[in-house]
């Protein structure tokens, strides 16, 4: 039974989408119930998966390996790609996050008026693609899911979005497409350089991440063979490949200066889509670096870690500063996402167990926190259709429950200890600082400068609280003065997030049980892989 669990998790939303397409468009409220039912089923499947997963064991579990494409290409060898799904300590928490966030996004989409059939169908397709991306262990399969996310997202922003939705959706699409092309190039080069079995006469090419990570599976004299030392414009092909992956996933993350699609996409997207975008889609950038770029190019990764960390620190500071200058609440939160994703870069660049666990922790924690923040903006926007900070003041007396939720979310995002964001950032700091005295990848000053992000975070969030929630109650004249506090449905989606944020802040071991084995294995793979290639080169 448990051998099919991951496929089940993927199939449920796809079947749901088919069912939805087959349903006549008479009962408009039917679609949201189907979507919710799909989510409920997925939650059950998730519980099953969690119960079958063994946290004391590192590496991939619940594997499903089936031959998918096998093509004899004559002198080019044999092309082989597998339907290979599995989860490890990094994938599983992200899968769990996806299932939970999608459920909340569906609750938050309850009042979608404009063609709910199309909306929920696209949402379910997106659901399957996101989960598939986190589970796939074969590059071709991964890429397929990765690209498949673009399509529903493009339409969800472009059709259900705000005033400048077309501009935002095209910008989003072009940016990510550029990233995808870079990743595609590397995928082809990697495919040409990797074999699944080390037979000198018959070369069977492979897309499997596991094969790609092993230096013994590199085809000698191929493009990416470190001993071959192919150079393009004076730079080694392996460096090119790493940089292309870094940029490709960096766009997704997003990394400064490739981030400008994010504020626009967020501002124009409807609330539930913003939630999905911030909580899940951004994580794929970090996931790609952790799963693909670092373990497959350990030699280059160790060489260029300072660059990755530098971009991380720039993102932390730059995002925070841009957030401080934002006048639109949603834009502010979008920039704060940029700032927080910088911690992911800094953490993984340290290649220490602390830093890597921190980067992964930050991805999960930011998933919950940003979802809550965007939902809170949505609550206000639903009532007044205005997101400008200056148009509100003294909201706390009018909407006390809303104020409490906002207080929690803001303080979680600015890194108050006892909430999940702090734990993640602390681990990143510890790892990045320790790197300076253990593996000498990063200088201590990276971590020290990054702590400025904490100060700036406090500054822009508290300033926003002060402007919007304190003082005499006042909203701009043409806005609806009948602001009501959060209703039951809104509490239903905010409350679980609040609980997750608090629990992960106080009991980090719950998540570290999964992340620690992964972080240890990752650190070993990269450090040892780097050494092996170095030894190979010296021969």
């Amino acid at each position: 039974m448990h051998a099919y669990l991951l496929s089940l998790l993927l199939l449920i939303p796809l079947v749901g989408a088919l069912l939805m397409l087959a349903t006549p468009n008479v009962h408009r409220s039917l679609f949201r119930w189907i979507a919710l039912g799909v989510s409920a089923l997925q939650l059950i499947a998730l519980v099953l998966i969690l119960s079958h997963y063994n946290t004391s064991q590192a590496g991939l579990q619940l594997s499903e390996l089936r031959p998918w494409i096998t093509l004899d290409m004559g002198i080019w060898g044999i092309l082989q790609s597998n339907y290979f799904l599995a989860v490890d300590g990094l994938s599983l928490p992200l899968v769990a996050l996806s299932v939970i966030i999608i459920t909340i996004a569906i609750i938050s989409s309850w009042k979608i008026e404009k063609s709910p059939k199309g909306y929920f169908t696209l949402l379910l397709i997106l659901n399957a693609a996101v989960i598939g991306t986190f589970c796939a262990q074969d590059f071709l399969l991964f890429y397929l899911f990765f690209e498949f996310m673009l399509l529903p997202m493009f339409f969800l922003i472009g059709i259900w979005g705000g005033a400048r939705r077309e501009y935002a959706s095209i910008k989003f699409f072009l940016y990510t497409l550029l990233g995808s092309i870079f990743i595609l190039i590397v995928m082809i080069a990697l495919y040409l350089s990797t074999q699944s079995t080390g037979d000198a006469e018959l070369v069977i090419h492979s897309f499997s991440f596991i094969d790609m990570q092993q230096s013994s599976h590199i085809i000698s004299n191929a493009v990416l063979d470190p001993q071959n030392n192919v150079t393009i414009l004076g730079i080694s092909a392996r460096v090119w490949a790493f940089m292309l992956l870094f940029i490709g996933f960096g766009i997704k993350l997003p990394m400064v200066p490739l981030h400008t699609w994010l504020p626009d996409a967020h501002v124009e997207a409807p609330t539930p889509i913003s939630v999905l975008l911030a909580a899940l889609l951004l994580k794929i950038g970090g996931y790609g670096l952790l799963r693909i770029a670092y373990p497959i190019f350990p030699d280059i990764a160790l060489q260029l870690s300072w660059l990755v960390a530098l971009f991380g620190v720039i993102a932390i500071i730059y995002g925070a500063l841009a957030a401080m200058a934002s006048k639109d609440l949603k834009r502010l939160i979008a920039y704060s996402s940029v700032s927080h994703m910088g911690f992911v870069l800094l953490g993984l660049a340290s290649v220490t167990p602390e830093g890597v666990a921190g980067a992964a922790y930050q991805m999960i924690s930011h998933g919950f926190i940003s979802a809550m923040l965007f939902l809170l903006v949505g609550v206000l926007y639903d009532r007044t259709h205005d997101r400008m900070i200056q148009n509100y003041s003294g909201l706390s007396s009018k909407m006390p429950v809303y104020f409490s939720f906002t207080l929690l979310a803001f303080f979680a995002s600015l890194g108050l200890p006892g909430l999940s964001g702090f734990m993640a950032e602390l681990m990143v700091f510890l790892g990045a600082f320790k790197s300076g005295s253990t593996n000498y990848l990063l200088h201590e000053s990276f971590a020290i400068i990054a702590t400025l992000g904490l100060v700036l975070g406090a500054a822009y969030y508290l300033w926003t609280l002060q402007r919007m929630f304190f003082g005499q109650y006042h909203v701009k004249i043409n806005l609806d003065n009948q602001l009501t506090d959060v209703d039951f449905r809104e509490k239903l989606m905010l409350f679980p997030l609040a609980i997750f944020i608090i629990v992960l802040g106080i009991f980090p071991q719950l998540l570290l049980d999964y992340l620690n084995p992964f972080a240890d294995a990752f650190t070993n793979t990269v450090i040892e892989g780097g050494k092996t290639i170095k030894v190979l080169l010296q021969k």
Partner: protein, 639 residues
């Protein structure tokens, strides 16, 4: 006492205030009168528990109880209790002052619209503060360290409709955050050097550079929380919060968390860092007391006074006499909480009177007060006792602790350049006497000013009770039964300090004589603003705005501009170029590529038409072409 029993009692002790906080959230609006009652009762139990733990565990060996919190890399982070005499003193102070403040709030905050939130945060603060003093490792301590900052934020901003309160709250949190960067840096250094964060293990750093760096970073963190120069400007603004909150958080407990941390981490500090500590402490003590001299708001006077006293404590730790710092922390908690609650009682009484008389003026401004000793006799007495303790009169607890600080400072300085700092503390102590006198004189003894319009009556018993208790606790016997001896039960339990009879006698003569001089000086004067620098707290607020806020905002807006103009701009330029290119290509397609193709087709058609015309069946054209051909032929043959 058995260890298991001790542990369970400690857990109950910590959990009780948290329970009180939750309870206040759960009680419905209908039974809101239960809130103050229940939380007061719970705090009473907490205090009794704390007192019994102190009495049974005093001078027992250190107790370290840890459980696994989480694993990070190859290391295990613990959570637990680390109990020694320092912890016990802090535990007692925190729960006792919190009880007093809860009792006082019963009367003071009655009828407040946000009472529920108030008691929640008060309980939560007490929980965090207890957690802070009991924590066994630096990370857990930091968690509570920031959480007390958060409680302080919500409580300063308790009256949410007051914008000034919100600003003060944000300022307090952000300035503390800036300093906390130092704390986090210290955590990073200690973790990377010792692979541990346990309070007992981190002090084993061997590398001198990192040891100094960690010490300085930690000191920066302390300078934020304990309001040392140049981070102290948040504390006077924090007075926007309710007065009982100021008594609890901004006088007796949270702000001394920094001193507590210094005492806990004392083995870490090298001589150089300790010297810096004295310099910071002495500077703060002097500046704080000078600024207090020129304030008109009662609470601001007390706030600057707190800053100055905290400076004394930091300096005391710097001299190496951390026991003395703890002693002053202990005595200061009582008399300063007493002073704040006294100020609260005055404000309460005057507000009530104002309400009855429909007159409005700022009751916290001492220029409007005067002659209150007749109408508020008990409050006046308590306030005067606490002020006497603050000034350091013999027979009051403040004398003993200040005497001990002076002795340790002169011991530390010897006959070197350090003597300047020792004497600066003498000056700030004298200034303390002067501003206390000024405060007491103009509130209680001077000719009544605007208060003549009011009929003021003594505050209710519930407000008086904590005042009386705290002023009794400001007498000498809390330290030792001998009024000149500071090595009492507390110092014997920590580390006894040396004596210096000369200094003790000097202070015994100095304090009364300075007081009499001050009294004589103020007797015939009215209050007028004299020095703007002192009155505005050395313009630290402006300096803050100038070097942090304004540049920060400018850089932020520049960043946004970079985002919009340069990154998006170049993106748009790229898109524009691409579209232009596409148009060019389209033009090329229609005119050049298609043009060529069409041109070839046209030529073919024309050629065809030409050829077709040869055999069109018209006799004239046949003759025409025949003639042409003949002429060409003839030309060819002939030439």
């Amino acid at each position: 006492m058995k260890q298991e029993l001790m542990l369970s009692l400690l857990l109950i002790l910590v959990a009780l205030p948290l329970f009180s906080a939750l309870l206040s959230q759960l009680i419905s609006e209908k039974y809101r009168w239960l809130n103050p009652l229940l939380s007061g009762l719970i705090l009473l139990i907490t205090t009794i528990l704390a007192a019994s733990l102190v009495s049974t565990h005093w001078n027992q060996p250190e107790l370290l109880w840890q459980i696994k919190w989480f694993e990070l890399g190859a290391h295990t982070m613990t959570a637990g209790f680390y109990i020694n005499n320092t912890t016990l003193v802090m535990m007692l102070v925190v729960s006792f002052i919190s009880l007093m403040v809860h009792l006082f709030s019963n009367g003071y905050m009655a009828g407040d619209p946000f009472e529920k939130g108030y008691y929640t945060m008060l309980g939560f603060f007490t929980f965090c503060m207890l957690g802070l003093v009991l924590a066994d490792n630096l990370l857990l301590l930091f968690v509570f360290w920031e959480l007390v900052g958060f409680s302080s934020y919500t409580l300063i901003g308790h009256w949410r409709e007051k914008l000034a309160a919100a600003k003060a709250a944000s300022k307090a949190f952000i300035i503390n955050r800036i300093a906390d960067v130092g704390f986090i840096a210290a955590i990073m250094i200690l973790y990377s050097q010792t692979s541990s964060l346990s309070l007992t293990e981190v002090t084993a750093v061997t590398d001198t550079f990192w040891r100094n760096a960690a010490g300085i970073c930690l000191l920066i963190g302390v300078m934020g929380k304990s309001a040392q120069f140049p981070f102290f400007n948040w504390l006077p603004s924090a007075m926007e919060g309710p007065t009982p909150v100021s008594a609890l958080i901004h006088a007796a407990t949270m702000v001394v968390a920094g001193i507590f941390l210094l005492i806990r981490m004392f083995p870490l500090f090298t001589v150089e860092v300790l010297d810096i500590m004295v310099i910071v402490g002495c500077t703060t003590a002097l500046l704080g007391s000078l600024a207090a001299l020129q304030q008109f708001d009662i609470k601001k006077i007390l706030a600057y006074s707190t800053i100055s006293q905290l400076g004394l404590m930091v300096a005391a730790v710097g001299t190496g006499a951390y026991g003395v710092a703890l002693l002053h922390l202990f005595t200061h908690a009582f008399f300063k909480a007493g002073l704040f609650l006294g100020a609260g009682a005055i404000i309460h009484a005057l507000h009530r009177a104002q309400h009855a008389a429909h007159v409005h003026f700022d009751v916290q401004d001492i220029r409007h007060l005067g002659g209150l000793k007749k109408v508020l006799p008990i409050t006046a007495l308590c306030f005067i006792i606490c002020s006497a303790a603050l000034s350091g009169f013999p027979l009051f607890s403040g004398f003993q602790s200040k005497d001990a600080i002076l002795v340790s400072l002169f011991e530390w300085s010897g006959n070197s350049w350090r003597l300047i700092f020792a004497w600066s503390v003498v000056i700030s102590s004298a200034t303390t006497i002067v501003y206390s006198m000024r405060m007491v004189w103009f509130i209680f003894f001077a000719t009544p000013q605007k208060t003549t319009q009011l009929t003021v009556s003594e505050v209710p018993f519930l407000l008086r009770l904590p005042l009386i208790v705290l002023s009794v606790c400001s007498l000498w016997f809390v330290v030792s039964f001998h009024p000149l001896e500071y090595n009492g039960w507390l110092m014997e339990g920590i580390v006894p300090a040396k004596h210096n009879l000369f200094i003790t006698w000097l202070s015994m003569i100095l304090v009364p004589s300075v007081s009499i001089m001050a009294w004589w000086w103020f007797r015939k004067r009215t209050l007028q603003p004299v020095n703007h620098i002192l009155q505005n707290g050395f313009y630290l607020d402006h300096l803050n705005d100038l070097i942090l806020k304004k540049p920060g905002l400018i850089v932020a807006s520049k960043t946004e501009k970079i985002d919009k103009r340069w990154i998006d701009g170049s993106l748009h330029a790229l898109a524009y170029t691409q579209v232009t290119m596409a148009h060019l290509l389209a033009w090329f397609d229609t005119w050049i590529v298609d043009g060529t193709v069409n041109g070839i087709a046209w030529m073919a058609r024309q050629t065809g038409a030409l050829a077709r015309s040869f055999s069109g069946g018209k006799i004239q054209s046949y003759i025409f072409w025949s003639v042409i051909t003949l002429i060409i032929f003839l030309f060819w043959i002939l030439f």
